[in-house]
Symmetry: C2
Subunit: 285 residues, 2 copies
């Protein structure tokens, strides 16, 4: 496995693979990898492409009061993990390599970026769309893999690719969970033992909501109320949002008819966790 | 020469040229071509690249009260001209081909887009940066040619390419003028005979200002005053702006030391013309 922190060196490596007719797959990450990331790599490997994994904690997508400086990092551990997983090259640029001058250029995906995490983290998705654009331009991959844990991010990137005619296939990969149901996240390491236990309420409340919909509940507000109630009763988590939205457009839903996204963000202490579930609805005959 | 209005067909044409090792040069235009455009093509031809010329009157870069609907168009005349000039393929998509769904994604280049034409045409450069991004993603050229008549546009695109790591060389091409000095523009066709004559004051005032700087004048405000005075005295043109700015960053200049951009926009009737000149300064020893 190759490793480089230089854009120019990465371009040379990729260009020689392309000349040999290899397809290129990109797995963009912020590092501190877990089994969720390994599942992205696994999907990428299945395409027989040359797999590029990027590790970059992107300052542009952190708000002024967020956890940029304490975001967990462990490059050596990550490198070891991805080598075992069969990644072909790890790209781990410094902030200076990615942003050698003040960034004036930003990519924004309107509407989709204003709801859910977009309203509690202003500028976050602008930072994501901009860095992903830049990574796409550097790597010029044929396909790129995004985890559905960040479902809104996946939708935004997919829309950006369509709107700007990027010749890249965006491949979503299902959420990977701990055995007890907690969605994998680099931020789980922040949790105390007690918070870790309480955080199980997130996946449980989503599962309950799904059962409720499958049982015939069609009111989005009622589903949101049920999830909120369970989280409030069974944990000290402070709810940022709990919302039922259209799974394709993220638009408001009142009456659940087409596939919906159940999405939530909840703070345990200073740690903000997100989780979600897409629920298909059997149409009434 | 090939012609296509389809993104997919253009991609096939370009891809087969790339496979044969050809470099790709892009000349993006809004059509209704004049000798300024032909000069872009000439520069592109000199690289021995496969030359793609796009013709697209981009709605995103027109304001609600601007001349989108009456912007001059003549595809057959254009196609004839560029065939003679040696263009390899003309890409003339419809609005539906370029924007098949509501555009949610926009590319913005901050700071550079707020001054000069950016302040009188809000959203204009956002529309330009977005469509040029999209054309870059469709064509994936090795180089792209932009006229210096739209100097601010050229700087914005150059910055976008650097900030987003697009692997494209941006080649600026000097302004082409009529024999009497009027800068070539598709919009010159709107001018009445009288306005056409009066519009000569633009290039004349820029030339005078250059002589004044070379003669030792170092006050940016005084240069602006001289240009304004000449335009006001010698024409009925209504000044939108006359500004002296740093030629690299477009930042404010008080004392002229490094190369400056003399830029102006003036309305003759309903027709808004722009012109500019970059003036190098001999440093005091």
């Amino acid at each position: 496995m190759k490793r480089t922190s230089r854009i120019s060196e990465l371009r040379e490596i990729i260009s020689s693979e392309k000349k040999r007719g290899r397809k290129i797959a990109l797995v963009p990450t912020m590092g501190f990898l877990h089994r969720g990331h390994l599942s992205l790599i696994e999907q990428a490997k299945q395409t027989d492409a040359f797999v590029v994994l990027s590790i970059f904690v992107n300052p542009l997508q952190f708000g002024p009061n967020e956890d940029l400086s304490r975001y967990p990092r462990d490059l050596e551990r990550d490198a070891h993990l991805v080598e075992e997983a069969g990644v072909d090259v790890v790209f781990h640029p410094s902030v200076e390599e990615m942003y050698p001058r003040p960034m004036l250029t930003f990519v924004e995906v309107g509407e989709l970026d204003r709801v859910l995490c977009g309203s509690s983290r202003p500028g976050h998705f602008r930072g994501v769309a901009t860095v992903v654009s830049k990574l796409f331009n550097i790597v010029q991959p044929d396909m790129a893999f995004f985890g559905q844990k960040d479902y809104q991010q996946y939708l935004i990137i997919e829309r950006m690719v369509k709107d700007l005619s990027l010749p890249i296939e965006i491949c979503p990969v299902p959420i990977v969970r701990e055995e007890d149901g907690l969605a994998m996240s680099s931020r789980n390491i922040y949790l105390t033992a007690e918070q870790r236990l309480e955080a199980l309420v997130l996946s449980k409340s989503l599962n309950e909501a799904e059962r409720s919909i499958h049982g015939g509940q069609r009111s989005a507000r009622e589903i949101e109320r049920q999830i909120r109630e369970k989280i409030t009763l069974e944990s000290h988590g402070v709810i940022d949002y709990v919302e039922v939205r259209d799974a394709g457009s993220l638009s408001d839903v009142t009456d659940i008819q087409s596939p919906v996204l159940l999405a939530l963000a909840v703070k345990f202490g200073t740690t903000r966790l997100i989780d979600n579930k897409v629920v298909e609805v059997e149409q009434n005959v």
